[in-house]
Structure formats: structure tokens, C-alpha cells
């Protein structure tokens, strides 16, 4: 069988970070405060303490401590908590790419979908956001209400993945 472990991560604060004006200025303030640049579209950056994953042109998903972000945004954007509605599922092992093709529509097997990349896609009818941690790890952000169903789907699918 293909090497793959599926595990649910503990609940954690997640926020939406949205900019509506002065994006360049906000980006400078962000980099000065957080020590890394706002990631580009389809990319993520940061550390376990604070990671931003860009899914829309003006919207980032924030994982970790978001306490400094409101001040950075000032009147140029807003931070909104969404963590209660999202379950993080970690896919570990080299089979994660194949697993994501099951019921998927997104090219998770592309070599360009590498560490630091992100995507918003549909898997088996469920809207899922993906973050590639490294070559053998991907974290999926799944709506809470669908998480049990998708977890079951993935566990079944994983059982039929053959090298």
C-alpha cells in the first residue's frame, strides 16, 4: 500500500486577513512587523507561530497568533476569526498527492505544487484549502460540517491506493 497517514490536528485559531486599500503600504507594515513578506497568490509563508496562506487576491488565511494583524491593517483591512468552522487534516507520507487526486479536480501531482504552495479546490464536492508543508506533508483545511465525511472518504480511498 502507498505510505500515507491521515490525522486531524487540534483546533486552533484561524483568521481571515483581508486588505481593501493601500495594499503596498500594508505589505510593508506587515513585513516590518512579522519579519516576512505577505505571500503571493497560491503561496504561503511564515512559521508555526504565524503562517499566512494566500487564497484570494486580497485575502489570506492566517494560522497561528493573529494578535498583531489588526494593528498592521489599521483601516486598510480587517481580521475575522473563522477557526471554529475549519478542521485541519494533516496528510503525511508520499501518497498524499495521489490521495488528493481522488475525487479531486486539482493537479496535486504537479511537481510545481511544492512546499510553500497553497490551493483552494474541491475534493469529492467539498471545498478544501491545501497547504503544502513539505514534500511528504500537506495540510488540508476542511469545513467542520464536512470534515467527518471527507475524513471517511480519505481513509477509504487511502486503503485502495497501491504503489
Amino acid at each position: 500500500m502507498t505510505e500515507l497517514t491521515i490525522s486531524t490536528l487540534p483546533a486552533a485559531p484561524l483568521h481571515v486577513f483581508e486588505i481593501w486599500s493601500n495594499p503596498a503600504t500594508v505589505a510593508k507594515r506587515f513585513e516590518a512587523t512579522c519579519g516576512f513578506a505577505l505571500p503571493h497568490m497560491g503561496r504561503s509563508d511564515g512559521s508555526d507561530a504565524l503562517r499566512l496562506i494566500r487564497f484570494e487576491p486580497t485575502v489570506w488565511l492566517v494560522e497561528g497568533d493573529a494578535s498583531a494583524l489588526s494593528a498592521i491593517l489599521s483601516d486598510d483591512g480587517a481580521v475575522t476569526a473563522i477557526g471554529g468552522g475549519i478542521v485541519r487534516i494533516r496528510l503525511s507520507g508520499k501518497g498524499w498527492r495521489t490521495l488528493l487526486m481522488e475525487g479531486g479536480v486539482f493537479d496535486a501531482e504537479s511537481p510545481t505544487f511544492a512546499a510553500g504552495c497553497s490551493a483552494a479546490t474541491i475534493i469529492d464536492h467539498v471545498n478544501v484549502r491545501l497547504h503544502v508543508v513539505d514534500e511528504t506533508t500537506c495540510v488540508a483545511f476542511v469545513p467542520l460540517s464536512f470534515s467527518q465525511g471527507l475524513l471517511h472518504f480519505w481513509e477509504q480511498a487511502a486503503g485502495s491506493l497501491v504503489e
Partner: protein
């Protein structure tokens, strides 16, 4: 050796045998019965085009009817059963239908089954009894079916020598390549015909493709070609009826390819002559395949009929295998075949065959105008070759007529698809015209369509090939024109006196070969095609064993019965508790949007049809939203949580639609606004506490005075931060508590404890429905049904007088203020219970003037009440109508009243 069963008898096969090969190996000539006339049929081909040898493979829920015996590889324990016969294959009572063949000609259904609807009800029974070949299994399919996406630069369909070479070139050129082959081995044609390449070449090439990163899928058929070079592949992971090794029986691939190369080859054509469907009449290449690939010789004394050179290879193969070539009937004039070393008859075409149910006995032919006969147990025919252009046509490709090959060949396509190999360059053949009697000259073997049927259709005025197809059922079922098309087109062209391309060509549609329904359903086949959405507090509810109610994809508690209560008893008890004391329920599924920013109020003034911008911090109000055309499409509440932060709630059922609407307004209509509108439907779990004692419960929970009606405060319950909204759907003093869903359990437990301490109870959707109907509150999908304006729902007084909201312009359309519109009313039963969904009529037999959108009982005092929509309803209060539901056989006399049956003044909201 491998053991398998056919019609209950055990046989043995060799590894790699198809079921067809194994049956021939065991001397079985009769494999099935034809659809209409129950004529005995054997094995005609060696591929997916097989029209005759359709069998049911597998048992129980795993049984697969109409499986082509040529497309299933034998495994240990395979169970196959012949179809469309009774009591057995050899003696089939249905064969008597053959005597009635003159009455069952083309258009039989249309000429016979007509008349009134009542007659159709009578005909239906017999039509259904006669329809189909095999029986669909009645048990649940135990297998799973997977659907998987794949992306590649080059998809090559067909792993013959041309396809493999193309795949190798692309893979070694650095492309991401997928190569698919419907057989279980690569380049199977190399086993039939020795060429420059051989099996060793195929193996080496496959290894190089894989080494270059290419993916090779065997037992995989490209079944559909869709827009944007999306190709669906059907992969058999286990054989039909076989228990899958890794749980999944089949996989449906959705391949998005940069380029598609079709190396699909061609299919050999049969010839049209009398009794050409008899067991023992086979296609020439199929015969050669059985001889050389499977080591099975289907006949000892063979006649070969051909119009091309390819059939001579079959003669060689048969001769090498020890068979006797009685004659080669070559339709071409001499000297075709002169140097073959066989007894060749030029200008020779078969006229008819004779035989028994299980075998062929003799062949009759017309040779240079004279009739000749040969004893033979096998007739191998080759009427030319039809390129497999199905996928090319599905891709929107065009075809050209190749006169030499008498075939359509692929030309251009609007998609990035190329055809190579035999499908692009079919062999040249000699043009033939059938000379035999058309009555038993079958051109569509599966549907028992003869040349005579085509002639009849022509005589009855069918000129278009598309009409001809439907009138005669030609090319339907698994054949899809593979074998039947060219013969029919040739006959039609002959009748019209035109060339075949002028006669036209039917359209090839997906799937190329049959696809099982389970595969289309995929993993969702077992749960109605979709995941169930679970509440954040699902486990807590489940522990109380509620009656669950599907609501969209959600499952919500409908009621919490105790002590054997029925749904109605439980719901009434729960509703009474809310009216008299206190109850709590889960409202987590409501749509919720957090709207932030300096322009949040301006944004909400556009989304909502009521005034939002004047709302004070800490206050909320009921609101509703319109479509552009002025029709109400959702409702909810808006709460000003902070100076620049609002919470908008709307209906559960409309949540996704509202999210799309808000996103559209934000991104397309209002990109200039400084606002963020985030969907927090699932972030917040929601708990509603309602009833005269709700305030006391809240006071105990938060240790402070709860907010007054339509006010909001932040608070903490069980140490967890919450937002409390004082809003009521039930008509009682009520509160909604919103909490981060990941922390909701502690809050629910605390609330439940306090509610129970007050003598209250949990309530579900059914009680909630009773409560809101009695109060006259709307529900989206019920009273708000996509046709009602704010005026129709008596909401017009709440409209934002400044306008500017979406739908404001649409509302001014004259049609929306004309008389005769349906309007919201209440209905009180005078006698009987009001049936939900009933039509409202003034008297028996009169036309409906409205309908009942929701019905319930007065919770405390009893009696049936309802909400409904009635033409000019506002002005008809006091009128007596009949609520009639013919489908339920129920009706009640009702009085039209105002749509508020409980506390119309709203006194109970207030402290």
C-alpha cells in the same frame, strides 16, 4: 488452469483467456440469444465491439449483466450466465418470436402501441417485460468505485505499436504522459500479427515510458471526450463479478490533457448476407486473434469471405494451426489472392449459411453469378475496416470520406487531438453491395436489425440517417454503431442513389463502451452522492437519539422523543414547553456573515432591503434581501456588534446562495467599498433558548441582565466567550447564543443544564415549525418561494425608503404592483385539519386561487392553522375557502385570517 462456470457447468480456461476464448476453447458455440427474435448467437469478434456474446458475469450484487464475453478475462471462480432465454440457452421458448418476425419489423412499437393513455398502461407491462437482455441485480453492489483526476501533457489512447511509440517519444521528450489500453496487455495486435515489433519490443517500450515518468493504464477505456480536452477513462481494477483485491472495483479517471493522441485502430466489418448471425460466423481478424493469441482454433473446416488482403493472414494462421481452408471467397476480381496458395474464388460473395443452434454446417456463395456451396464449421468474414473515430467526433472533430477504404477518417478538431495509426490510415478494400436476401441479412446483430428493416424504413419515408437509426433501433445499446453503422449507411446511400458521405453519419456520443452506473456515482453511490453535513454538536444530539431531519445536506434533530413518543407527540410537547416555560435548540446551520470595515453599513444597505446604517451599536433588526428583479429571496437579522462590525444572519437553506450573492456584490458591484464580508456560518455554533423563562435561564448563565429584545451583548458562558442576540423566531422571549464552534460543547452543556433546571426541554425542527407558523414568521422555501415581493409578504413597510438596495429598481416594475397577485394570509380550520401543500379553492371543482405553504396546530389551545398564498389575500380576510389536497385525499374548510395566530402585538418579546 482456471476454473469457471457457464450456465452452471464447470469449465477450464488458460491464464489470459477472455471468457470468449475460454468458451471457444471448450467447444461452446452457442453463447446467447438475440434481443428481438431470440436467434441463437455465438462469438463474432475478439474485442469490445462484440454484439452477440453478451452474458451476465458475477453473482448477487456484484452481477454485471450484458458483459461482452470478449471483454472479460477469466479468473478462478468466474460465474457467467447466458441471457434472454427461457428455460435454457439451447431450448428457448422465446425463439418462437422468430416466427413472428414479419410482424416485428422496424417501427413495430410505433405501429402497435398507440392509443389512449389507458392503453399505454396496458402496453407498458409487456414492453417492460420484453425490454433489455440481462437482468440488473436487485442486491446492493458491495464494491466501491473511485473517481480520480489526472493531468498530463500528452494522453495516448491505445497501446498498439503506433500509440506506444507516440507515448515513448512524448515521455522521453520530457512530457507528462498517460498511455491507456483497454486490453490487459500492451500491443495485443502484435500477438495476432507479427510485425517489425514484437512482444519484447512492447515490454521494452513500456519500461522506457515508465522510466521517463509516464503512466500506463491497462484495462482502461477512454469512454468519453469532453470540452477542453477532458477525457474520461474507465479503468477495470477487477474483472466483472470479481472480488476486488484493494476494495475498489473500477476507477473513473478525469484526465485533463494538453494534447490527446488517438491510436484507437479500426474495427473489422462484417458482411451482410442471409443468416450471417449464425454461431460459427466470425470476423476474420477475430479468428486470427483466437488462433495466434489464445491458441484456440474456432473451426476445423473454414470458408473465408473477404474484400481485402487482410483476411489472407487469417487463412495462413488457420492453416498453420491445422485447420482446412475450404475456400476463400474474394469479392475482388482476379487476380486478387491468386498467389496465396489457397483455393480462391474471385467475384465471390456469401449468400447464406446453414447450421444448427450451436454451429455452422455449410456456406452458400455467389461466385461469378453462380451459386456454390461448401461444408464448413467456420465462416471468417472481412468486409473492410472502420476506423474508431468515436472519440475524435466526441471532441468535435470532423471526418472525411476515404474512398479506397470505404470509410470515414478523422480530419480536424477544435480540440488538441490527433489520430494516428490504423484509425487514420485504414486499409484499402473493394466496394461491395449486398446481393443476398435482405430479410435475414443482419446489419445490427444486437438489435436484430436487417437490411430489410432499412428498406422498410426507407419505403415508409425515413430519409435522414438519424431518423432511420431511431426508427429501426440501429446502432443502439453496446454497439453504438461500431459494427452496424457502415452497412446501414451503405444501404441508405444505395436507396438514395448517392455516395455514403452524402447519406450522412450518425453522431457518436459518450460513452464509447458501457460504463456501470456505480462508476458514475463514484464514492457517493452509497450515500446519495453527497456527504452529510454534521452539526458541530452532532455527538451531543446523537446521544439523545433524536429523529433526524435532512435539511439540504445538513442533518438536524427534528424532535427528541421520550418514552416512546411519536414525532407529533414529541414535537407538541417540545413546543408547549417553549410556550409555557423554556426550551433550547441548535440553530448552528443558519447562514452567518461577519461584515467589517468603515463601509460595512453602506455595504449592508445594498445587500439588505431594510435600513441598516441607522442601527445603533448593540442593536439588531429583522431584514430581508431581494433579487435584482425585486423578489424576496432570503431573510434574517442584522446586528451591529461594534462601530464597524456587523453580524448578518440568513436562512439555512439559502446559505450558499447568500454567500455567492454577497461575494458577487462585494467583488463586482462594490469593489470600491472598504469592507470585508466573511462567511462565518460554520465558525459560530448557535444555540437558541426560547420561552417565558428564557430570560431567567440567560441571567443564570451569564450572571447579568440579558439584552432586551433585538439587542446584543458579548458575554461568557462556562468561561467561553459568546455573542448573545435577543431575537425570537418562536414568538417568545428568546436568545440566540453564538460561540466558536470548537468550544460550543461546553456552552451547550451549561445551557442544557440551566434549561433543565428550569424544567425546560430541548426542541427540534418540528416544534420550531409549529412555533413559527403560529407566530406567522416566514420561512425561505415556504412562504418565500421566489415569487413573492415585499408587498406580497406584507413587508413593504420595512423597505428602506432611501432605496439603493439591490432589487429597488426591480420593485418598481408595474407587474409587481398589479392586482391579482398572490399575498400572504393566515388560514384557520373550520372543520378538519389543513393539509400542507393543499390548493385553496372557493368551491368544489373551482380553479385554485392559492395554496397552503405551511400548516400546524395551535400549540396550547389546539386547532389547525396554516399560512398560505392567496390571490388578493389581504382583502379576503373572513372568507371561507376549501383547502384541498387531491393527492392526499384530504381537505378542510378554512377561514382566511391575518397570518398571526399568536401574540400579534409582540407583547411576549418584551420583559
Amino acid at each position: 488452469m482456471i476454473n469457471f462456470r457457464f450456465d452452471g457447468k464447470v469449465y477450464t480456461a488458460q491464464a489470459g483467456d477472455t471468457l470468449a476464448a475460454a468458451l471457444l476453447r471448450n467447444g461452446i458455440g452457442l453463447v446467447g440469444r438475440s434481443f428481438k427474435y431470440h436467434r441463437p448467437r455465438g462469438i463474432m469478434t475478439a474485442g469490445i465491439e462484440e454484439p452477440n456474446a453478451l452474458v451476465t458475469v458475477g453473482e448477487g450484487g456484484r452481477a454485471e449483466p450484458n458483459t461482452r464475453a470478449t471483454d472479460v478475462f477469466v479468473y478462478e471462480g468466474l460465474v457467467a450466465k447466458s441471457q434472454n432465454r427461457w428455460p435454457n440457452l439451447s431450448f428457448d421458448v422465446g425463439a418462437a418470436l422468430g416466427l413472428a418476425a414479419p410482424a416485428l419489423s422496424a417501427g413495430f412499437y410505433y405501429k402497435t402501441f398507440f392509443g389512449s393513455a389507458k392503453k399505454w398502461m396496458f402496453y407498458e407491462y409487456f414492453i417492460r417485460k420484453a425490454a433489455g437482455l440481462g437482468n440488473a441485480p436487485t442486491l446492493t453492489d458491495p464494491d466501491r468505485f473511485s473517481q480520480r483526476a489526472a493531468f498530463c501533457d500528452v494522453l495516448v489512447v491505445g497501446a498498439g505499436p503506433a500509440g506506444m511509440q507516440a507515448a515513448l517519444d512524448a515521455a522521453e521528450g520530457g512530457k507528462r504522459v498517460i498511455l491507456v489500453e483497454q486490453d490487459h496487455i500492451l500491443a495485443p495486435s502484435l500477438l495476432r500479427d507479427s510485425q517489425e515489433q514484437d512482444a519484447a519490443w512492447a515490454n521494452a517500450t513500456a519500461a522506457r515510458i515508465r522510466a521517463a515518468g509516464g503512466i500506463i493504464l491497462t484495462r482502461t477505456t477512454a469512454s468519453g471526450y469532453w470540452e477542453h480536452d477532458l477525457v474520461t477513462l474507465t479503468q477495470r481494477i477487477s474483472e466483472p463479478g470479481q472480488v476486488p483485491t484493494h476494495d475498489v472495483a473500477q476507477r473513473l479517471w478525469h484526465v485533463r490533457a494538453g494534447q490527446v493522441i488517438l491510436a484507437t485502430g479500426s474495427i473489422e466489418r462484417p458482411m451482410a448476407f442471409a443468416h450471417n448471425d449464425r454461431p460459427g460466423v466470425m470476423l476474420s481478424q477475430a479468428v486470427r486473434t483466437y488462433v495466434r493469441r489464445f491458441g484456440v482454433v474456432p473451426g476445423k473446416r473454414v470458408v473465408i469471405a473477404t474484400n481485402n488482403d487482410d483476411a489472407y493472414k487469417s487463412a495462413e494462421a488457420l492453416k498453420d494451426a491445422g485447420a482446412q481452408i475450404a475456400a476463400i471467397l474474394d469479392a475482388r476480381p482476379a487476380p486478387a489472392g491468386a498467389n496465396s496458395g489457397h483455393r480462391v474464388y474471385n467475384n465471390a460473395v456469401p449468400l447464406s449459411t446453414q447450421g444448427a443452434r450451436h454451429c455452422l454446417k455449410s456456406v452458400q456463395a455467389l461466385v461469378d453469378g453462380k451459386t456454390m456451396d461448401w461444408d464448413a464449421d467456420l465462416l471468417a468474414v472481412s468486409g473492410g475496416f472502420t476506423p474508431v473515430v468515436h472519440l475524435h467526433m466526441q471532441a468535435g472533430g470532423t471526418l472525411d470520406w476515404n474512398e479506397d477504404a470505404q470509410a470515414f477518417i478523422p480530419v480536424s478538431s477544435r480540440q488538441n487531438v490527433t489520430t494516428i495509426g490504423g484509425a487514420a490510415e485504414p486499409q484499402a478494400i473493394f466496394k461491395m453491395v449486398p446481393v443476398s436476401s435482405p430479410k435475414k441479412s443482419f446489419i445490427d446483430f444486437q438489435n436484430d436489425v436487417t437490411l430489410a428493416d432499412v428498406d422498410l424504413a426507407w419505403a415508409e419515408g425515413y430519409r435522414s440517417v438519424e431518423h432511420l437509426k431511431r426508427y429501426t433501433t440501429l446502432g443502439m445499446a453496446t454497439d453504438q454503431g461500431k459494427l452496424s453503422n457502415m452497412a446501414a449507411l451503405g444501404r441508405l446511400a444505395q436507396k438514395q442513389g448517392v455516395a455514403i458521405p452524402e447519406a450522412g453519419l450518425t453522431t457518436f456520443r459518450p460513452p464509447y463502451t458501457p460504463v456501470t452506473m456505480g462508476l458514475i456515482a463514484g464514492a457517493g453511490a452509497k450515500d446519495a452522492g453527497a456527504h452529510i453535513r454534521r452539526l458541530a454538536l452532532y455527538e451531543l444530539h446523537a446521544a439523545k437519539n433524536p429523529i433526524w431531519q435532512p435539511l439540504g445536506y445538513w442533518f438536524r434533530p427534528r424532535a427528541y422523543p421520550i418514552s416512546g413518543e411519536s414525532l407529533a407527540q414529541a414535537a407538541l410537547r417540545e413546543a408547549k414547553a417553549v410556550r409555557n416555560n423554556v426550551g433550547m435548540t441548535d440553530v448552528s446551520t443558519l447562514a452567518k456573515f461577519e461584515v467589517s470595515g468603515p463601509d460595512a453599513a453602506a455595504f449592508l444597505d445594498i445587500i439588505c432591503a431594510t435600513t441598516i446604517s441607522k442601527l445603533a451599536v448593540g442593536r439588531g433588526r429583522y431584514t430581508f434581501m431581494l433579487r435584482e428583479d425585486g423578489i424576496v429571496f432570503d431573510d434574517g437579522t442584522v446586528w451591529r456588534l461594534d462601530e464597524n462590525r456587523y453580524l448578518l444572519t440568513s436562512s439555512t437553506g439559502g446559505a450558499d446562495r447568500m454567500a455567492t450573492h454577497i461575494s458577487y456584490v462585494r467583488q463586482f458591484l462594490c469593489p470600491h467599498l472598504r469592507v470585508s464580508a466573511v462567511n462565518v456560518q460554520e465558525h459560530y455554533a448557535g444555540i437558541a433558548i426560547a420561552g417565558p423563562q428564557a430570560k431567567a435561564v440567560l441571567t443564570a448563565l451569564i450572571g447579568a441582565e440579558p439584552p432586551r429584545h433585538m439587542s446584543t451583548v458579548p458575554a461568557a458562558i462556562a468561561g467561553v466567550p459568546v455573542i448573545i442576540l435577543a431575537a425570537s423566531y418562536s414568538g417568545e422571549r428568546a436568545f440566540e447564543i453564538y460561540v466558536d464552534a470548537s468550544q460550543a460543547e461546553a456552552v451547550w452543556v451549561a445551557c442544557e443544564s440551566e434549561v433543565f433546571a428550569q424544567g425546560g426541554t430541548l426542541y427540534g425542527l418540528e416544534a420550531m415549525e409549529f412555533l413559527r407558523i403560529e407566530k406567522g414568521h416566514l420561512v425561505v422555501g415556504g412562504e418565500v418561494d421566489g415569487r413573492m415581493t415585499p408587498h406580497d409578504l406584507a413587508l413593504d413597510k420595512m423597505l428602506n425608503k432611501a432605496g439603493g438596495y439591490i432589487g429597488a429598481s426591480g420593485l418598481s416594475r408595474p407587474a409587481l404592483s398589479e392586482t391579482g397577485r398572490r399575498q400572504l394570509v393566515g388560514l384557520e380550520a373550520i372543520a378538519g385539519d389543513i393539509p400542507e401543500g393543499a390548493m385553496l379553492i372557493p368551491s368544489e371543482g373551482a380553479s385554485p386561487q392559492g395554496h397552503v405553504s405551511a400548516a400546524a396546530f395551535r400549540i396550547v389551545t389546539g386547532g389547525s392553522v396554516a399560512l398560505g398564498q392567496l390571490t388578493e389575500g389581504f382583502s379576503r380576510h373572513g372568507e371561507i375557502l376549501i383547502a384541498s389536497s387531491p393527492t392526499r385525499g384530504q381537505q378542510a374548510r378554512v377561514r382566511v385570517v391575518a397570518p398571526h395566530f399568536y401574540d400579534a402585538a409582540g407583547e411576549r418579546y418584551r420583559d
